[in-house]
């Protein structure tokens, strides 16, 4: 589904990604871990097509297509979803209105008509139940005055509505209490199937107890320095990153 080959990317002249190689197949769950500043969030943003990053070298293909020339919204239309680490506020725009726009814009890109209101209502009801979201929440301004946990839950709610092929969850667990982690993971697990893939960016093993990864990658200095299975995450939890640094750099 997603294939990244020797990806180098920079922002404002500073190189952040230093030759990333990664392949993600449908039905897989990948976890990307690594110390602060290792380039995890940058990788997520580059895949999503954030303009402030420049791809210097390498290639990202999504379902066989080179997506370098595609805008962020075109990538979204193709089914790439990013759950933001810091979701932005849009005052005066309700969660419902925002998602209605997002869904219909995506449909428009596919040559489909707007989703009928009744269908939209049904979809919103169904997905809000999945994530145990209060109806009142839907009429609030997007992310404005939301608690950290509400913001993250709202991100996964959006993911549920958009049903992406590839979902990248950037530190979705930060700011979540234990109940919220359970609700969010439960939602993600229900959305997971053999046709989609999930990338989890996290610092902690905790979330991976709920959403079990097939692969775990460790990033350092803009590179994936070690890949393994879920046991690798447990080892990191226990030992930290220093042993990997030693292993890689000697």
């Amino acid at each position: 589904m997603l294939k990244i080959v020797n990806l180098h990317a920079s922002a404002e002249g500073k190189t952040i990604l230093n030759g990333i190689n990664l392949e993600i197949k449908a039905g897989e769950v990948h976890a990307i871990m690594g110390p602060n500043g290792s380039g995890k969030s940058t990788l997520a943003a580059v895949i999503a097509g954030k303009e402030e990053y420049t791809v210097e070298k390498g290639k990202i293909t999504f379902e066989g297509q080179d997506i370098d020339e595609l805008s962020a919204e075109e990538r979204a239309h193709k089914g790439i979803f990013l759950s933001f680490q810091y979701p932005v506020e849009i005052p005066g725009v309700s969660v419902t209105n925002f998602m209605k726009t997002a869904i219909n814009e995506t449909r428009k890109a596919k040559g489909l008509k707007d989703m009928p209101a009744s269908e939209m209502l049904k979809l919103i009801r169904e997905k809000s139940e999945l994530l145990e979201i209060d109806r009142k929440f839907l009429s609030r301004s997007l992310n404005q005055g939301f608690s950290g946990g509400e913001k993250k839950r709202n991100e996964i709610f959006q993911m549920a509505l958009l049903e992406p092929k590839l979902a990248i969850l950037d530190e979705t667990d930060s700011g979540l209490d234990i109940d919220a982690i359970r609700i969010v993971s439960n939602g993600v697990n229900k959305l997971k199937n053999e046709n989609n893939a999930i990338v989890i960016i996290t610092h902690y093993q905790r979330l991976l107890d709920y959403i079990v990864p097939d692969f775990v990658h460790v990033m350092h200095n803009g590179k994936i320095v070690k890949s393994g299975t879920k046991e690798l995450a447990l080892k990191l939890e226990e030992k930290g990153y220093d042993w990997i640094k030693k292993e890689v750099y000697g």
Binding site: G49, E51, E73, H77, G92, S141
Partner: protein, 500 residues
């Protein structure tokens, strides 16, 4: 030798969505063909088009309107005051001062050109009509193209007229009111905005050519949104519009003014005056969408819009101004309320959008004179391009205004790095029981917000529209439903291409 003077009426289709495109070429063409089909001749005939302003011109305007002597005198008085006045310079706008002797104080009528079709109309304009969802017939009217089914519009207008007449509501061109209802006009004209109020009000008082008059009798709730729409083909609007609206005791009226369609008027200077009178227990809701030609992307051309709008509230009455200002090169406009009666309420809801080289200095004045008077000000300024957008507002609490309350909120939204947002709130309080709140925010549409929307499949144009509409929601909600939908589209179009 007679003075060379042809005074010709400009009749634009007086529809709240409709304004004419009227170029110098059209004008020349019309003068050549001599088709003064509306027959507005004065006894001083000529085929040249005179410019300039003097007492004779003022008299000629009044005469052509068949006005009574008191009206002519009132105009002349205004003209003499105007001659002594200087243009106001305190607004935060810079522009080349118009040459008042280089303006024709009467413009030619627009007649339907039988050879013209929509194919002859500017493509950009047509594209914009399409976006606004303006019907083909309306597009034709706006561009002075013959319409086959105009009879329908006329009959619709007639039906509305009948309904209004049954309620005793008077709604007609002000020139008609001067002749048909002189007692009302005489009693109220100039009482809220006196001739000497300001430079542009004085000018308007001297030379206004048309506008609306509305009277709602005691206890009558006007059964429909009154708008210039219903006066289609009956009158004309012009550079110097004059509106007088009287809501008698216990009555209610909602009035819509302006148009969402781009008004490519070639008259550079517009100076309108609007006076509202809300008698005891009456309520007036006055909504405006202003979309005069703002000039091109380089800041060339565009309308100068210098407007004086003011209302007076008697006991327990309420005046609510809602405005969406997207057009004009220069906007100078402060719809205000004099809260004279006890327990009266004034409201001002405004969205002002400036893009490219537009400049807007707009706001309100809330003058609290009566006891327990309340006012609310919600102002949303959106600046893009190289534009400058200023809010200027006065909240004045007089010494006898016990328990007066005001809440003001002024929010500015900036797009890009070359525009400006300014806030000039003036507060004068002479009664210590007053409660005044002022909130202000300035924010910028951030790349992060845009990227967030993009990531959800919403392109940048649409994202901006979404953010701007969210920002403007408190004001849009105060517009009548249909108008709000159009205004929302208009906001999107006005800001198109403003984030590259």
């Amino acid at each position: 030798m007679p003075i060379a003077l042809a005074v010709v009426e400009k009749v634009s289709h007086y529809n709240f969505k409709t304004m004419n495109k009227f170029t110098e070429d059209d004008l020349r063409e019309e003068l050549k063909t001599q088709e003064y089909e509306y027959g507005f001749y004065t006894d001083i005939e000529s085929d040249t088009f005179p410019k300039g302003l003097n007492e004779d011109i003022v008299r000629a305007i009044s005469k052509k309107k068949k006005e009574p002597q008191w009206m002519t005198d009132w105009r002349l008085e205004a003209f003499r005051i105007w001659e002594q006045m200087d243009e106001p310079k305190w607004a935060n706008v810079t522009y080349k001062k118009p040459d008042f002797q280089d303006i024709s104080y009467y413009s030619a009528p627009k007649s339907v050109d039988p050879n013209k079709t929509l194919d002859d109309v500017d493509e950009d304009l047509l594209a914009m009509y399409k976006k606004l969802g303006i019907s083909i017939d309306e597009q034709k009217m706006m561009n002075n193209i013959a319409i086959d089914i105009i009879v329908d519009s006329v009959s619709v207008a007639t039906t509305f007229k009948k309904t209004l007449a049954e309620k005793g509501i008077i709604f007609c061109p002000i020139s008609e009111a001067i002749i048909e209802h002189p007692e009302l006009v005489k009693k109220y004209l100039g009482t809220i905005v006196p001739q000497r109020d300001n430079f542009y009000a004085a000018l308007n008082s001297a030379v206004f050519t048309d506008g609306s008059f509305c009277y709602i009798p005691k206890g009558v709730k006007c059964p429909m949104e009154l708008s210039t729409y219903f006066r289609i083909n009956e009158g004309g609007t012009g550079q110097f519009e004059r509106t007088l609206l009287i809501a008698d005791e216990g009555s209610y009226v909602s009035y819509l003014e302006g148009c969402t369609a781009p008004a490519r008027d070639e008259n550079q200077l517009h100076a309108a005056v609007v006076e509202l009178i809300a008698l005891d227990d009456a309520e007036i809701k006055y909504s405006t969408v202003q979309n005069w030609y703002p000039g091109n992307a380089e800041g060339k051309g565009g309308v100068f819009n210098f407007v004086t709008k003011r209302g007076i509230c008697h006991k327990n009455s309420k005046i609510s101004w809602t405005q969406v200002e997207t057009g004009s090169a220069i906007t100078w406009k402060y719809p205000s309320c004099i809260l004279k009666g006890d327990n009266s309420i004034g409201e001002f809801y405004s969205i002002a959008v400036t893009n490219n080289y537009q400049q807007a200095d707009t706001g309100t004045k809330m003058i609290h004179i009566g006891k327990n008077t309340k006012s609310t000000i919600i102002s949303k300024g959106i600046s893009a391009g190289k534009s400058q957008n200023s809010y200027r507002g006065l909240v004045q609490i007089h010494s006898r205004a016990e328990n007066a309350r005001n809440f003001s909120q002024c929010d500015s939204l900036l797009m890009g790095n070359d525009c400006g947002a300014h806030t000039f709130p003036y507060i004068e309080v002479k009664n210590k029981t007053a409660q005044i709140e002022h909130e202000a925010t300035t924010s910028k549409i951030g790349e992060d917000q845009i990227f967030y929307c993009n990531q959800r499949g919403i392109d940048t144009e649409k994202a901006i529209a979404l953010i701007v509409n969210g920002f403007s929601k408190d004001v849009l909600n105060n517009l009548p439903m249909e108008f709000a939908v159009e205004a929302q589209k208009l906001l999107e179009i006005s800001l198109e291409g403003s984030v590259g």
